[in-house]
């Protein structure tokens, strides 16, 4: 398998001395669906900025399909498509012109660019808006426009920085579907997201960054397998006393909501058996939080990352 992106010992110190990246290493294989997670200010956008040459690095190397951005920047850029976090298109230009011009910057002939613009505007449900100025679009439409723009030169690697921020659930799911299809077509996808469910649903591999350090870099299945405890929330018949469940930690949140900590070695069946013997009926059950979220919180603590080994 080819390496799509290879980052070694990447450092970035901004003017004023803020150390945004403290020597990170990352490898993304061709065809991967890769998540870069981290809290605000962790260094996600700086990493993406350096890869796409919007941020000057302080030290380290970045290679895109083997092309070093220090020696073969234009070649490296030609493989990348970027969907940034902030809207960064000309708000006064019609959608069609935004897309066709962007394709032109990559050397795509105008005739072909117009065909591709039509294809992506239709796929992303923006065709009716093709002659409208960018500023006339809703937030979700603007996000889709930026995805269409990033695809105009048919990049091998698509980088999305918080692509579904501020997008409603229905639209988010349709965007997930679209990104999955792109990945199935062979496009390597790297995304940063605050929605951990999004990373869990879409990505095969994951890196967690905190305070400019990669604190975890592994495949999603292995990461989730390390989770040794989940909290489930049960909606139960009204009760005044906290049910006693042998072997389980429980908390009665209100008279009909019970939280139960379940270790990896324990069986959920045992909870129901014990509740049944106490004549307590369960109306419904859910996870307290997303599984990845629990891991994320445990990995990204205040200052904890400073002491973590870099994987």
């Amino acid at each position: 398998m080819k390496i799509a992106l290879e980052i070694s010992n990447l450092k970035k110190v901004y003017k004023g001395g803020f150390e945004a990246l403290k020597g990170i290493d990352l490898t993304v294989e061709q065809g991967d669906f890769f998540a870069l997670l981290g809290p605000n200010g962790a260094g996600k956008s700086t990493t993406i900025g350096v890869i796409t040459s919007l941020v000057n690095k302080t030290a380290g190397t970045v290679k895109v399909f083997g092309h070093d951005i220090d020696q073969e920047l234009e070649q490296a850029k030609s493989y990348l498509g970027l969907v940034p976090q902030e809207f960064n298109f000309n708000q006064f230009e019609p959608l069609m012109k935004i897309l066709v011009n962007q394709a032109g910057y990559y050397g795509v002939e105008r005739k072909l660019a117009v065909q591709r613009a039509e294809k992506y505007l239709k796929q992303l449900d923006l065709w009716d808006k093709r002659n409208d100025a960018g500023r006339m679009l809703s937030g979700g439409m603007k996000r889709r426009l930026m995805i269409a723009r990033a695809l105009m030169h048919e990049p091998k690697v698509l980088i999305l920085d918080e692509p579904t921020a501020g997008v409603d659930i229905e639209l988010r799911r349709s965007m997930w579907e679209f990104l999955r299809e792109l990945n199935q077509q062979g496009i390597t996808i790297i995304l940063t997201t605050h929605y951990l469910e999004e990373a869990e649903m879409l990505c095969r591999n994951i890196a967690i960054i905190d305070s400019g350090i990669i604190v975890k870099n592994t495949d999603m299945k292995s990461l989730l397998a390390t989770l040794d405890q989940e909290t489930i929330v049960l909606d139960i018949d009204s009760t005044d006393t906290r049910p006693q469940l042998d072997g389980f930690q429980t908390r009665l949140i209100d008279d009909h909501t019970l939280e139960v900590d379940v270790k990896k070695s324990q069986r959920i069946n045992d909870i129901f058996i014990q509740l049944t013997t106490q004549n307590i009926n369960v109306q419904s059950m859910r996870n307290k939080s997303n599984r990845l979220e629990e891991l994320f919180v445990s990995l990204v603590g205040s200052g904890q990352a400073e002491n973590q080994e870099v994987n």
Binding site: S53, E74, S78, L82, N90, Y106
Partner: protein
Amino acid sequence: MSSKVNFIALKSILHKEVHRFMRIWVQTLVPPAITISLYFVIFGSLIGSRIGEMGGFDYMSFIVPGLIMMSVITNSYSNVASSFFSAKWQRNVEEMLVAPVPTWVIVAGYVGGGMARGILVGAIVTLVSLLFVDIQIHNIWVIIATVSLTSATFALGGLINAVFAGSFDDISIIPTFILTPLTYLGGVFYSISLLPEFWQGVSQINPIVYMVNAFRYGFLGISDVSLTLSFSVLLTFIITLFIIAMTLISKGIGLRS
């Protein structure tokens, strides 16, 4: 990247730039025509008739080349300054920065856009001036060369201004406090030879004097300074400003953090 890819990228930037100023033609093309008409009415017809001849020509004919050049300078500069700064401000300059567009293509595209507006406005102003005066042409090639080089010089200046600008105020400071005084003192409305000797010497450090005079030579065949010196000044400015613009954009000054 191949020269074909670069050529398509250059065409795209040029297309975008020309489309931008054509889309807002009421703001970009109409005001110079109105301003120049007022200059002709006030300085040409009303005051000019009392001034009499200058450099062997009636005053109206004398000021026409300078007024055209003034429009070319202002529009070439402000087109690139406002367009590139807007692209920075809206961050759509990143569309070019993430693409494999060489720096020289970005510079050439924006300068080309500035030249297109400068020369188009120059042509409009020339047409307006035909309503007031018969224009004679002494050497068309000098006219074309001067207008093209001057337009490129000030388009480069506008680009450098936009690179450093941090707010919309910053792109109006240089036109207001530097360009306008230099233009008014650059021999648009008078012959340098009318000035006392000291001020004639001072005028020679004003680059616009050379541009206006070379342009006037193309129309009337008269100039306060030598044509060779005028073109040398223009080429020196273009080369210097081009190197500065290339260096700034390559290093990402004002563009990359």
